[in-house]
């Protein structure tokens, strides 16, 4: 098993702690407390209980029989993180981090959110533990994910709109970090993806590796062998690293992360595919690949899915790509939408738009593989939150019986 990051939070040349001095010591304290918690059987037992009784683990490994037949190639399995409480993988990490907040005596919880799934998971965890919760969310994202905004408010959280820049995930992280810098002694920042300063990329990965651990066991029990290909969507990269990590030493298992190709990755087209034309830089605490102009200003990204609409990729993914251990491709908005409909109609599963990017790549690659080969897709979230947005986009609002939020 890969033992990265090193003690300073580096995954090879990527990662680190590029933060203002005010946060250096709180982040070191967090890393130290996490190391202690990791070795504490009580912490692990508490987390296992929450994941089981509260969140609904283990999630099923589901053979997508009709999708497989339709695509006419490799067998496609889905890891059903969409069936978790709150509707996405994000709850794995939110529960892990709120247990840490309890250990550290921090009663005020803050978070950023893009699609709102991490915000909902954090608000849920905060409600469960009786903590005050403030979630920063870009104004654009609040509009396109209105259902999740309502859910967070029902759960007792304060949702703060962020209007700077593109008013999406990156700006929400800036605001959350400003809050943390100001209230660091009383506040725990539950960061929602495998990005930002050390120890977050490591901690978030560790809390999500349960996805890959379960899937590996389930696949061996079901098929008696490992999958040939893992597919997951990559914004910051939390669901992808959670699935990939336990398979890193299984050399025969290929891994593909799917970034948001937006309008397309050509010149002048807007997207969020950091490995297509991205540069090595430093953003929000970590050294990694990001989308910036020649002067180092972070570029405005675009994706139909709020959760993938982010300018930097988690540092461990940058290393896996360097090592050739994982490949990174992209799917456009249109491809993701097609996949959204295809999975809904063939399997009776409406995926999140983020997840639809992973499905889109499965649609592309499955027909080129042999029927005895196996694809495992991380079905990271369900699409309830996206129903309104897809309906609006496709101008079929009147025919969809969803309540106006």
């Amino acid at each position: 098993m890969q033992t990265l990051p090193d003690a300073h939070g580096y995954f090879g040349p990527y990662g680190g702690m590029f933060v203002p001095e005010t946060l250096m010591t709180p982040l070191r304290d967090l890393a130290d407390e996490y190391e202690r918690a990791k070795r504490d059987p009580q912490f692990q037992a508490d987390l296992a209980n929450l994941l089981g009784d509260f969140a609904g683990r283990p999630t099923p490994l589901y053979f997508a029989e009709r999708l497989t037949a339709k695509l006419g190639g490799a067998k496609i399995y889905l890891k059903r993180e969409d069936l978790l409480h709150t509707g996405a993988h994000k709850i794995n990490n939110a529960l892990g981090q709120i247990l840490l907040a309890q250990r550290m005596g921090k009663k005020r919880i803050i978070a950023e959110t893009g699609a709102g799934q991490h915000g909902v998971a954090t608000a849920t965890a905060a409600a469960r533990f009786g903590c005050e919760c403030v979630v920063y969310m870009g104004k654009v994202d609040m509009e396109r994910q209105a259902l999740n905004v309502a859910r967070m408010r029902f759960l007792g959280a304060t949702v703060v709109p962020v209007t700077a820049g593109a008013a999406t995930l990156k700006e929400a992280i800036n605001e959350a970090m400003r809050d943390w810098v100001t209230n660091v002694r009383t506040t725990f920042y539950i960061l929602g993806s495998a990005l930002g300063s050390h120890p977050y990329p490591m901690m978030v990965r560790d809390f999500h590796r349960v996805i890959g651990d379960e899937a590996r066991r389930q696949m061996l029990a079901r098929e008696g062998r490992l999958p040939h290909l893992l597919i997951a969507c990559v914004g910051g990269g939390s669901n992808a690293i959670g699935l990939f990590y336990p398979f890193l030493d299984d050399e025969a298992v290929r891994m593909v992360g799917v970034e948001a190709g937006g309008e397309g990755v050509g010149v002048g087209q807007k997207h969020a595919a950091r490995f297509q034309g991205g540069r090595l830089g430093v953003l929000q605490g970590t050294k990694t690949f990001l989308l910036a102009d020649e002067d180092g200003q972070i570029q405005l990204t675009h994706s139909i899915s709020a959760g993938l609409d982010y300018a930097a990729v988690g540092p461990e993914h940058s290393l896996l790509r360097d090592q050739g251990r994982a490949d990174y491709v992209h799917a456009t908005d249109d491809e993701a939408l097609s996949a959204f409909h295809l999975l809904s109609e063939t399997e009776g599963i409406i995926p999140a738009l983020e997840t639809a990017h992973a499905i889109a790549y499965a649609v592309r690659v499955a027909p080129t593989m042999r029927p005895e080969e196996i694809i495992l897709v991380n079905l990271s979230g369900r699409g309830d939150k996206d129903v309104q947005q897809v309906a609006d986009r496709e101008d079929m609002l009147e025919s969809v019986a969803t309540p106006k939020i």
Binding site: H8, Y10, P13, G16, M17, F18, V19, P20, E21, T22, L23, M24, T25, P26, A164, G165, K170, E171, I173, N174, M177, R178, V181, T182, N183, V184, R185, R279, L280, G281, V282, L283, Q284, G285, K287, L290, A292, E294, D295, G296, Q297, I298
Partner: protein
């Protein structure tokens, strides 16, 4: 090397002079390119004329996460006026050619200078007449761990921050890496004005002085002459930023922004120059 090499840097010269005069230093922060680089030059000369000792010039970045709303808005105005890293360096060169004598420290985030090329940036900044660089999101630990962030030309000072959350052993580590002066952030939080100066400043200043002989500057939150004078007591210089930047935002379009800024800054400077 000339015998004066160590004092060739304008930051060193400024603190040597202040010590001889028995007064405190005044460091003014403005965002380069707000409202545009031409006005930045006028403002810089106006600040020098009212007695500012060190000019801290912000290099705008799209995601200034250690800054409050006032400085963030200034960075956005600067980017909208077309300000770039090469543009800021050209501005410094021009000001030096026109005779600006005060020390200049560039205040920036890492990404713009990382993409410019860290070494190249430091060399070009030094050649342009910059005396020091403060990179908000580059703690000394990380500078040591990344080969490409380690080197620098002699003569350019790397200014380091110490925060209220910095424990004693880390204060020593940062003080060792610091050059020019130590910049103490007087409170937790982002940049911005506040009603009163931190009460434990004297204590914290003493803790820093115990491990370094470098001059000590204090900043974050100072906006009135009374606060400036109070904060200056236990340190060698005070930094005022957001309060100046806010006036630039208010008068930026008026054509008399430099005069207005000078009017605002003069009493602040005077407050730290008298009877210490």
């Amino acid at each position: 090397m000339s015998p004066n090499a160590a004092s060739a840097n304008r930051i060193d010269r400024a603190f040597t002079r202040l010590r001889a005069e028995g007064t405190k230093g005044f460091i003014a922060y403005i965002a380069a390119g707000d409202p545009d680089l031409e006005q930045t030059r006028h403002i810089a000369f106006a600040l020098e004329a009212v007695g500012v000792d060190i000019l801290e010039l912000g290099v705008p970045f799209s995601d200034p996460l250690a800054d409050g709303s006032v400085n963030q808005a200034a960075a956005i105005r600067a980017l909208e006026s077309g300000t770039t890293v090469p543009g800021v360096l050209a501005c410094v060169r021009a000001m030096r050619a026109e005779g600006l004598g005060i020390a200049i420290v560039l205040y920036t985030y890492l990404n713009p200078i990382y993409l410019y090329g860290f070494d190249r940036f430091l060399a070009d900044a030094h050649a342009a007449g910059v005396d020091g660089v403060l990179v908000l999101d580059l703690p000394p630990d990380e500078a040591g761990r990344n080969e490409e962030l380690r080197r620098r030309p002699a003569g350019l000072k790397m200014i380091r921050l110490i925060a209220p959350t910095t424990p004693p052993e880390r204060i020593a580590l940062i003080a060792k890496a610091a050059e020019g002066f130590v910049y103490f952030v007087s409170r937790e939080g982002v940049t911005g004005e506040q009603a009163s100066v931190s009460i434990s400043l004297a204590e914290q200043a003493a803790a820093i002085r115990a491990v370094t002989d470098l001059p000590l500057a204090v900043g974050f939150g100072i906006s009135t002459p009374e606060q400036a004078r109070e904060a200056a007591g236990p340190v060698d210089a005070v930094v005022v930023g957001s309060a100046i930047v806010r006036r630039i935002g208010e008068h930026g379009a008026s054509g008399e922004v430099a005069r207005r800024v000078a009017e605002f800054v003069r009493p602040l400077v005077d407050a730290v120059k008298k009877d210490f």
